[in-house]
């Protein structure tokens, strides 16, 4: 088994109402050394963020109570989470305009379902390292 430690000391928030998807992604990120916060909808995600601001967020779009777009809008209003890189993980690939999401909500990217946990991990690692680079400069 390949053991990763790229996420050592880093925290990621995963938000999806599909338990199995959440579980698979959590499994992958923990193996990579990330600390993983999980939420089943936008409101739960905000509660987790109150506890700790993550280094990156991966969120579904369609969720009960508070959907992904509402969550992102709330995060961008909050000074603490304004610059946190966000990836959107969604089955509504062709219905969401990635460009609009990037421009309006500063979403770093859109990952379409069905997704590869390996690919998702790689994208998050890139985001975190880029964010770190920006902070240091």
């Amino acid at each position: 088994m390949a053991t990763h430690s790229s996420g050592e000391g880093k925290c990621i928030l995963l938000c999806d109402d599909e338990f199995h998807i959440l579980r698979a992604a959590e499994f992958k990120f923990r193996r990579a050394g990330f600390e993983v916060l999980c939420a089943a909808d936008g409101i739960e995600a905000l509660e987790r963020i109150e506890e700790r601001v993550p280094d990156a967020i991966v969120t579904d779009c369609q969720m009960p109570r508070m959907n992904g777009l509402e969550l992102i809008a709330r995060l961008r209003e909050d000074e603490r989470t304004r610059r946190v890189p966000i990836l959107m993980l969604t089955a509504k690939g062709f219905e969401l305009a990635a460009d609009e999401l990037c421009d309006r909500f500063h979403v770093a990217g859109v990952v379409a379902k069905p997704f590869s946990p390996r690919e998702l991990l790689r994208r998050v690692e890139d985001l975190v390292s880029t964010a770190l680079l920006n902070e240091s400069t």
Binding site: M1, A2, E18, I21, R23, A40, A112, K113, P114, P117
Partner: protein, 519 residues
């Protein structure tokens, strides 16, 4: 030949009609006799008056002579006036011209020919007669032609009026709005439908009141298209689709088909401008939108279990699942998600079968409780994810149903799964069975978001999804319609819903019983 008696020269005033040609050969004696009678009568009357006057005055020979002379002169004047008054000369002329208009010149008597010598020399009268006859015949022909032309014009005018009235009726009955504008972008024709839909004044061709299309038609897309077609003189047909909010605030969609009338302008009664007809495509648009939503929902529903399968397969392939328990968990998820995908495909296929009228139903005697236990097992993981208390409350009796097991299972799964989807985290769902008179019943009761009265009416419509709850869970809008079809149409039962907003809903399925006994 009708010329002489019909449209030929009119008879003189006071003359009897119809026999003007019957006495042509003997007509002059009648005239001469009356003239002589008049002359004789005048002389006799003058003499009688003179004698009477002379006796009364006791006049001498010279006096009598003067009296007679004066009376004779008076009688002559009276006779001249009388003859002039009767128009003897013009009458004779008319008689002769009428004879000229007749075919048979040989019927002209020498006396009549002599009478014409006043107009021509004795040797030229025949040529004059021929010319006069030609002139009269030509004039009569023209008169007849003019009469026929007038009659045919009247017929054409009647036909045109009838055609116009028929077109007006057709246009009025046309359900689609229709507008015609001229080269100056003025509305020259608008039917009743255009008036009722767009509020445009009804116009008929030739109406004095003409308004600019952009002042009367409040549809910028349609106005722009009409103007473009008129200005650019586009020969091909052009179409555009636009939405329009009607008087009740409802959005309606129209496809406007517009064509230039320049081709028609080449005809004698043509005009320049454009004609536009508006097709109401609201229903087609709704179907398109619903189909698009259906495809989107189905695709979303399929991608979700596929995501689980793909992710867990990859975890296994990458060796991330190290322990046997982790590997077991991965395989269980893959299996569960595969079943979920299969159920979705079954739903879609069943719907297709229903719509095509081909449903393969195999009914046998089954225990309702057993079917509901299976449903509980299938939906429980979904409920556990949301920490929903999913209870099974089965009747202690054996409740038999004659049913297609697979179809009834699918209907019950759809109802239970729907309840779990729309019940908030930590809620409660109860799957219950009971005996109701000669029928058996199963219920799915939840503490979910509930349905409005309108939603309760429409919740079994295909593809219908409650708007306010769409973000709460994904769905295709097929589960409940399919359940209703299976319970009511396939099994002869009833599926009903009772609901209160923010309190919860209860779906009750009543099926004909096939015997009940204590278990």
């Amino acid at each position: 030949m009708p010329l002489s008696g019909g449209v030929g020269i009119p008879a003189a005033p006071g003359e009897p009609k119809g026999n003007t040609t019957s006495n042509m050969g003997t007509a002059p004696p009648r005239i001469h006799v009356s003239r002589w009678w008049l002359l004789t009568a005048a002389i006799v009357m003058s003499l009688v008056l003179s004698i009477g006057e002379a006796i009364w005055l006791r006049a001498g020979g010279l006096g009598v002579a003067l009296i007679v002379a004066s009376h004779l002169a008076g009688a002559g004047c009276f006779l001249a006036v009388l003859l002039a008054w009767r128009g003897m000369a013009s009458r004779e002329l008319c008689e002769r011209v009428r004879l000229l208009a007749s075919e048979d010149l040989s019927r002209l008597s020498p006396q009549e020919a002599g009478g014409l010598s006043a107009f021509a020399g004795p040797t030229q009268w025949e040529e004059v007669v021929v010319r006069l006859r030609e002139f009269v015949v030509a004039a009569a022909q023209k008169l007849e032609d003019a009469g026929q032309a007038q009659a045919s014009s009247e017929i054409r005018a009647r036909r045109a009026r009838a055609e116009r009235d028929r077109l007006a009726v057709i246009l009025a009955g046309l359900p689609d709005p229709l507008l015609v504008i001229n080269d100056y972008e003025e509305i020259v024709l608008a039917n009743l439908s255009a008036a009722s839909v767009f509020g445009v004044d009804v116009q008929q061709f030739g109406s004095d009141v003409q308004v600019k299309v952009d002042q009367s038609l409040d549809c910028p897309a349609a106005v722009k298209l009409l103007k473009d077609v008129v200005r650019r003189r586009t020969l091909t047909q052009r179409t555009a689709e636009f939405s329009w909010r009607d008087g009740f605030g409802h959005e309606r969609w129209y496809r406007v088909i517009c064509r230039n009338l320049d081709v028609a302008a080449e005809s004698p009664h043509g005009m320049r401008g454009a004609v536009a007809i508006f097709n109401d495509i609201t229903v087609q648009k709704a179907i398109q939108r619903r189909n698009a939503e259906f495809v989107s929902s189905v695709s979303h529903e399929m991608k979700t279990p596929l995501s689980g399968i793909k992710a867990y397969v990859e975890l296994l392939v990458d060796g991330d699942a190290e322990t046997p328990e982790e590997r077991e968990e991965c395989l269980e998820v893959i299996n569960g998600q595969t079943d979920r995908l299969q159920r979705l495909i079954d739903n879609i296929l069943n719907l297709a079968r229903i719509e095509s009228g081909v449903v393969d139903v195999r009914k046998d005697r089954h225990s309702l409780n057993e079917i509901l236990e299976e449903v509980h097992g299938i939906v429980l993981p979904q409920a556990e994810q949301k920490e929903i208390d999913f209870q099974l409350d089965l009747s202690p009796m054996y409740l038999g149903v004659i049913a297609d097991r697979d179809l009834l299972l699918q209907a019950a799964i759809n109802l239970a799964s729907n309840a779990v989807k729309y019940t908030p985290v930590g809620g409660k769902v109860v799957l219950r069975s009971r005996l109701a008179a000669q029928e058996v019943c199963f219920e799915v009761e939840d503490t979910g978001v509930g349905l409005s009265e309108e939603d309760c009416q429409r919740i079994f419509d295909k593809f219908y999804r409650v708007k306010k709850d769409q973000q709460m869970a994904s769905g295709t809008g097929l589960g409940l319609p399919l359940a209703k079809y299976i319970i009511e149409d396939v099994h002869g039962g009833r599926l009903e819903v009772r609901s209160l907003i923010n309190v919860g809903s209860t779906f009750s399925a009543v099926l004909p019983g096939a015997g009940a006994m204590s278990e």
